[in-house]
């Protein structure tokens, strides 16, 4: 069905990611089921066997991510996919992979948290992805698709960037995107193959043995290593930060969202434009590196911002950080479940435009009764 | 002589009881539940039920809530 042609096919976000991984040359998939991303592994189980590539039903997400680390250390492309609470289990390994500079590719199709939460789509793992839930100073590259087509495109990009920079790279999707179908075309994997021969483990034949590790019993080396990782990420930020802007030029107010919420702010913008309101949209494609500069320059131009998220204000903080108090930054949110509708966003933005100060709005928020945690 | 009570609200029409009863006293009825499945009924006109409770023990949904003997 889905292949390398340019023909459009109607396909689920989860399957799109899986097929794109195949096209990108992913040699190994390791995974453990969890809704709403289990279909990635299900799709790949048959295909990878047919292609003679590796597929392991890992014993857990801990197992899976460590298998990926082992596999990519040999220079092949490999990935795992999971969701929210189970991604939390991978934080130690991600911190290791960053330090070991292993080109791990990881997909998080977000569900609701904290804890087990539930399978409703949400965007509550922004902090974990962007700030790094693991220990120490490191950063993942984080790509957030907003359409099924981007599930394809950003999966391609994830494999490329991971190897290019030898940095773990995450595709941060959500249950909505994972579960929906939309037309998308695959085409060929558009990036060059990265030369890994200088570091990949292939057996010490005709060269010195190679060691990939993060521990440095020499303090100076350890410090240098942390500086080098930091500098690498500055290069990544310089080269790879991507975002989209729509109608920001003449806008008085700019809506900011990531992932599949982008769809809704764009529609809300259209509605508001139709009503004569000068509204624009801004959407980071890379959440890490985050487009601080681009947002700063919007603020410098005096545009008020409205951040729209399916969480309690995680990207909001980065946006506020970027604009350094220069403009009003308002917030429209629901923490999970039913995606904020275009109408809700439109209403909220109109409300904000009237009041002309920063505001936090939770449309149709449920009645605020106290919620006993020992829910008898 | 025995007797069973079936709670149709709990019954999920798995039909395990129908093959379990040694006397064949539980049958698919022609009534459907809200999912459109045919419900089961205790059909013991001759009073053959021995109250062995095998039906209840194998009912996965505790839809056979009482057995008497």
């Amino acid at each position: 069905m889905a292949d390398k042609s340019n023909e459009k096919v109607l396909i689920k976000g989860n399957y799109a990611i899986a097929q794109a991984a195949i096209n990108a040359g992913c040699q190994c998939y390791f995974g453990y089921p969890i809704t709403p991303q289990t279909e990635i592994g299900e799709y790949l189980s048959g295909k990878m066997q047919e292609l003679g590539r590796a597929y392991v039903c890992a014993e857990s997400e801990l197992g899976a991510i460590n298998m990926v680390m082992g596999a990519v250390s040999t220079g092949v492309k490999a990935m795992t996919s999971s969701s929210s609470c189970a991604v939390s289990l991978m934080q130690e390994a991600l911190s290791y992979a960053s330090s070991d500079e292993l080109p791990v590719v990881l997909v998080n199709v977000m569900r609701t948290g904290p804890g087990l939460g539930y399978i409703y789509p949400a965007q509550g793992d922004y902090n974990q992805a962007v700030y790094g839930g693991g220990n120490g100073d490191y950063k993942l590259i984080v790509l957030a698709p907003s359409t099924v087509q981007e599930c394809v495109d950003l999966t391609y990009r994830a494999f490329y960037l991971a190897q290019k920079y030898r940095n773990p790279t995450m595709i941060l999707a959500d249950g909505l995107l994972g579960q929906m179908m939309e037309p998308a075309s695959f085409g060929e994997y558009p990036y060059p193959e990265v030369d890994v021969s200088s570091w990949a483990l292939t057996g010490a034949k005709g060269r010195d043995a190679r060691k990939i590790y993060s521990v440095a019993t020499d303090e100076k080396k350890q410090i240098q290593h942390i500086y080098d990782l930091h500098k690498k990420f500055e290069v990544i930020a310089e080269n790879e930060t991507t975002y989209e802007e729509f109608n920001t030029e003449d806008a008085d107010i700019v809506l900011v969202a990531f992932g599949s919420m982008t769809r809704n702010i764009k529609a809300a913008m259209n509605v508001l434009r139709a009503k004569g309101k000068k509204v624009g949209c801004f959407r980071p494609v890379t959440l890490s590196p985050f487009p601080y500069k681009a947002l700063k320059s919007l603020a410098d131009k005096g545009k008020d911002l409205v951040v729209v998220e399916m969480n309690m204000g995680q990207m909001l903080k980065d946006v506020k950080y970027a604009v350094e108090g220069k403009v009003n930054v308002s917030f429209v949110s629901r923490p999970c479940g039913e995606w904020l509708s275009v109408e809700e966003i439109v209403d909220a933005v109109e409300d904000i435009m009237v009041s002309n100060t920063s505001k936090s709005i939770q449309p149709g928020s449920v009645k605020e009764v106290s919620y006993a945690a020992a829910r008898a | 002589m025995g007797k069973i009570i079936i709670d149709n609200n709990r019954c999920k029409s798995c039909y395990i009881c129908t093959t379990t009863c040694p006397k064949g006293l539980i049958k698919k009825s022609s009534k459907t539940n809200r999912l459109g499945d045919y419900m089961v009924e205790f059909d013991d006109p001759k009073g053959e039920c021995i109250g062995c409770a095998m039906c209840a023990k194998r009912c996965p949904d505790m839809a056979i809530t009482e057995v008497y003997r």
Binding site: M1, K8, L10, T35, P36, I119, T147, G175, L176, Q179, M180, M181, E182, P183, S260, R263, N264, K266, A267, A268, N270, E338, W339, S341, V342 | R34, L35, G36
Partner: protein, 181 residues
């Protein structure tokens, strides 16, 4: 302009597949379209549904509280989704399994014996495709021709032999209201 559809029935009525056919039809027609299922434990209790949204521009809300068209194949789905039809919207119900009631008076009702029509073709399994035929007769943005192409696409090479039956189902569904009148 966005139009959205909810398709609902009980598990086994092929409602997700019907949605897929509808979405493929729109795609083949060159429109923007999304399809979104209920999933996970939401599915327990036996009913299944999916939403299809078609749009001139990129689809915004993939998953909405309200809908323009609800296509429901059983009573439970009717009872649930009749509440979610927009004012002025339409609910299209399989009268073979749904009682012909009109609990609201701000929406349109279409009842067709989709199950009976399917049975008359020899199998209740095509009730879903019959229902799409009914839908296209009611909703003019759903093209009968592209639905046929959608069916062809979804059946694919492997199940090509089922195509004639499904085409018939589509046609009979499309004609259902005519015959009834």
């Amino acid at each position: 302009m966005e139009t959205n559809f909810i398709l609902a029935g009980f598990g086994g009525q092929g409602i997700l597949l019907a949605g897929t056919v509808l979405a493929n039809a729109f795609m083949l027609e060159g429109k923007n379209v999304t399809w979104y299922p209920c999933y996970g434990a939401e599915m327990r209790g036996g009913t299944v549904n999916c939403e299809v949204v078609v749009s001139d521009t990129e689809v915004s809300s993939v998953h909405k509280q309200d809908t323009d068209y609800a296509l429901v194949l059983n009573q439970q789905s009717f009872d649930r989704f009749v509440q979610r039809v927009k004012k002025g919207g339409t609910i299209i119900a399989n009268s073979t399994l749904v009682a012909e009631s009109k609990p609201r008076n701000d929406i349109n009702y279409v009842f067709a014996p989709m199950g009976d029509i399917a049975n008359s073709l020899g199998t209740s399994k095509v009730t879903n495709v019959v229902s799409l035929g009914v839908l296209s007769s009611v909703c003019n943005i759903v093209s009968k021709e592209y639905l046929a192409k959608g069916v062809e696409k979804v059946l694919g090479e492997k199940k090509k032999d089922l195509l004639p039956l499904n085409e018939k189902a589509l046609a009979n569904g499309f004609d259902a209201l005519l015959t009834k009148v």
